[in-house]
């Protein structure tokens, strides 16, 4: 071993060497992992790809690959990257998109459901009006095929922000086996709340313990809101904004409900202490007290499909998105069926829809519009929705062939909901939807438990919470 090299000792050399090696190692590590550290290794990151965020997993993104390939074949100059963002529900998904915005890395296009339509329109999205006017002839086929109520759900202050591609109304699914065991058949289309209670009562007595006649979850879609809508009320006041004539006159001049169309929904007041709201909650409270319905839990009801397929549940509110799940859970075509929501003062239904919104920060809005327009074509929607795990917004796609392998026999109910009940409305979701939903979810369990007095007191508390939320938004 050499003790002296160039006047330095072996000890100092070793330490320096170690430091130098360590430094070199760190530098090498930094250089080698630079793409990872800066996220450059994510496909599409750092190039000019258009980023499209969807609620879902990598598998959901891969399921859209055929659509992306078809788009790329027609628009080779536009690179597309589907970015799946996981979330427990839409509220969670929107929170993550907002975090991406705050981090300076927003997507260019986002698949937004009714729950977030006004949040995005108010703060994040680009109105489509100019594009729609420009490509009106090309879009005529789409508008001819899609019910105007679905478009109105994406109008905000007179402008249109999304072209809805899929939607679902809160219809009533019925387990035919349990219904028949109670000596019943599918209820009539105009069945009432009282008919509903009677059907549930008979199913319960036929099945006994361990069976739940009516299962519902505590959320904006399919929770208490469909019951409120059929009682011609809601927990928020509902009005229409002025404007939108440019759109209705151009694309829906013959709409029978033309006079009622406006520039989009406005939900800016609390209405929880309305007497009809109390009536509705009291009806649900009685259902729960009698053991005909469950006390609703929060969440998306992930276990519902399996329980319904196993005959543990008699009825539940859901849309066309349930069909494929029930089929995969082993339910035969005649094992279940679907009917309109039971009527009360009206038979107005609740629905939710979704479509792509172009972010106002999108780098290439024209390219983003081409994607939005492309996805609204029938052949694109057939690629996007090959099975009935949702309801396509194009009426022509909701046909016997679409449900031939899965059922239900009464599949016409899905689109008839809009045709027969044109006043059907979207999920009440103002820009402060998350806070509104939190307030509603917080009070529903208490409002449907205990006595009528408790229901009224809880609705008063809901009213104050909603007022606070809506006041802070103004």
């Amino acid at each position: 071993m050499t003790d002296h090299i160039g006047g330095a000792t072996a000890r100092t050399l070793t330490r320096r060497g170690a430091l130098a090696l360590g430094g070199l190692g760190l530098a090498g590590l930094a250089v080698g992992s630079w793409p990872r550290l800066t996220a450059q290794d994510i496909p599409g990151r750092g190039d000019d790809s258009m980023t499209i965020a969807i609620l879902g997993t990598r598998a959901d993104a891969e399921a859209r690959q055929a659509l992306v390939d078809a788009f790329r074949a027609e628009y080779p100059g536009i690179k597309v990257r589907i970015q799946p963002v996981q979330g427990t529900d839409w509220k969670d998904f929107f929170a993550k998109i907002l975090t991406m915005v705050a981090a300076g890395d927003p997507p260019d296009v986002v698949y937004v459901a009714t729950e977030g339509a006004q949040l995005f329109a108010d703060k994040l999205a680009e109105p489509l009006d100019d594009y729609i006017r420009r490509d009106a002839a090309e879009l005529q086929d789409y508008f001819d095929d899609v019910h105007p109520s679905l478009l109105e759900a994406f109008m905000y202050q007179g402008s249109l922000y999304q072209l809805p591609l899929d939607w679902n109304a809160a219809n009533m699914y019925l387990n035919m086996s349990t219904l028949e065991e109670a000596g019943l058949s599918l209820p009539a289309a105009d069945w009432t709340h009282d008919d509903f209670a009677s059907v549930m009562r008979q199913m319960k007595s036929a099945q006994g313990s361990g069976f739940t006649p009516y299962y519902w979850t505590n959320r904006l879609f399919g929770g208490v809101v469909p019951w409120l809508y059929t009682n011609d009320t809601s927990f928020l006041t509902e009005e229409k904004a002025p404007g939108g004539d440019w759109f209705w006159d151009r694309f829906y001049p013959g709409d029978p409900a033309r006079a009622t169309r406006g520039g989009g929904y406005v939900w800016d007041g609390a209405n929880a202490t309305d007497e009809r709201v109390f009536e509705t909650f009291d009806f649900l409270r009685e259902l729960v007290a009698e053991g005909l319905g469950v006390r609703p839990e929060g969440g998306g009801g992930e276990s519902l499909v399996g329980l319904f397929a196993n005959g543990r549940i008699g009825a539940a509110p859901a849309g066309g998105y349930w069909v494929q799940g029930l089929h995969e859970a082993g339910m035969a075509e005649d094992g279940f069926n679907v009917q309109f929501f039971p009527r009360n003062r009206t038979q107005r239904h609740q629905f939710g829809a979704a479509g792509y919104a172009i972010m106002s920060t999108a780098r290439n809005k024209d390219a983003a519009w081409e994607w939005v327009k492309f996805c609204s074509r029938r052949e694109s929607m057939e690629l996007a929705f090959p099975t009935p795990n949702t309801t396509p917004t194009r009426r022509s796609m909701v046909n016997a062939a679409f449900y031939s392998e899965t059922g239900p026999k009464n599949w016409q109910v899905f689109y008839d909901t809009l045709d027969k009940f044109p006043t059907s409305g979207p999920i009440p979701a103002p820009p402060a939807q998350a806070a509104v939903e939190t307030a509603l979810m917080k009070h529903v369990p208490n409002a449907v438990s205990g006595s009528s007095r408790q229901t009224r007191a809880t609705l008063a508390n809901l009213q104050s919470d909603l007022e606070r939320v809506l006041r802070s938004e103004q």
Partner: protein, 318 residues
């Protein structure tokens, strides 16, 4: 042995000693400091970027109204006033305190009893088995555990009510009544977290000299007396560490109530961290969320301070 020393003892030229030793004396501490700083740098930078700067940012943000999208607007103490007067925030802090008292008591109590049983009465292979088994829930994702537990405690279809039904007990509305929901959140939290305290207690029990127990036995102490007069005092340093960590962790509970109950029914299981999350990421009121976060931080610091002050009276160091 250093080269300088070797050369000096061998009668090497004085020039080497004269030129090298003084330089080493003057630069040595500096080099050592530099070396130490290089080693510490990743941690210091990490702490700075991910802890200190966010804390400072959060303090500043508490005085602004900011929804991520628009520019922040200075509002003074408005967020703090809004937080203090908001009934949901008040209830969430109260819930958190009640949760901490019950959950931490159960967590430490169960962990201590099981640790004492495992340490004393079981063969070695069973000790290893139980150590692993009790620690296992801690390495699971709290969200996954909560989803699974949600199924188990479902009123209509859950296994828990099915088991209770076998012995004639009517279905319990676990997740849809305030008491039931709070009980489930506590049960799930304690089940998942007691393993850590258990390991601390096992370690602490192993460090108590056996001679003390032998002396106690000679003096005629029973098992219970030994536990309270020998084990507990000598285990008190471990108990302090376990309780401080358990309290800090419980004050920040989020996953279990968020997944199991979403804070309901009503506000019955809404916790302070849930309100921070809801204010920030759902209601886009990041200033208010920061203000609540600051209040929670002050609460954690106060409780920890009290614990350490009390430890002077109750903790016995050998």
């Amino acid at each position: 042995m250093s080269n300088a020393t070797t050369n000096a003892s061998a009668g090497a030229p004085a020039r080497l000693e004269h030129t090298e030793l003084p330089r080493k004396e003057s630069n040595g501490p500096l080099r050592k400091q530099l070396f130490a700083w290089i080693l510490l740098a990743p941690t210091v930078i990490g702490m700075g970027v991910f802890t200190v700067i966010p804390i400072i940012g959060s303090v500043v943000l508490a005085f602004f109204r900011w929804d991520i999208i628009s520019a922040p607007e200075f509002v003074g103490f408005e967020n703090f006033v809004s937080v203090v007067t908001n009934p949901t925030v008040r209830v969430s802090f109260l819930n958190t305190i009640v949760f901490v008292v019950i959950a931490v008591t159960l967590q430490l109590g169960i962990a201590l009893v099981l640790a004492a049983m495992v340490a004393e009465r079981l063969p070695n292979w069973l000790r290893v088995f139980f150590r692993s088994t009790f620690f296992f829930p801690l390495i699971l994702s709290a969200a996954s555990v909560s989803i699974f537990m949600g199924y188990l405690f479902n009123e209509q279809f859950g296994a828990v009510n099915w088991l209770l039904g076998l012995i004639g007990i009517a279905p319990v509305p676990w997740l849809t009544t305030p008491t039931g929901a709070a009980a489930v959140v506590i049960i799930v939290y304690v089940w998942q977290n007691f393993g850590f305290s258990f390991l601390l207690f096992v370690g602490g029990l192993g460090s108590i000299p056996k001679e003390i127990y032998e002396a106690a036995e000679i003096d005629g102490a029973s098992g219970v007396k030994k536990f309270f007069n020998v084990t507990m005092p000598l285990l008190s340093p471990t108990t302090l560490v376990a309780s401080v960590m358990a309290v800090i962790s419980a004050l920040q509970v989020f996953d279990q109530p968020y997944v199991l109950t979403r804070g309901g029914p009503g506000d019955s299981t809404r916790t302070a961290v849930m309100v921070i999350f809801e204010s920030g990421f759902q209601q886009l009121e990041f200033g208010r969320a920061s203000a609540i976060g600051l209040l929670l931080m002050i609460l954690i610091m106060a409780v920890t301070y009290v614990q350490f002050r009390l430890s002077r009276r109750f903790v016995f160091y050998q």
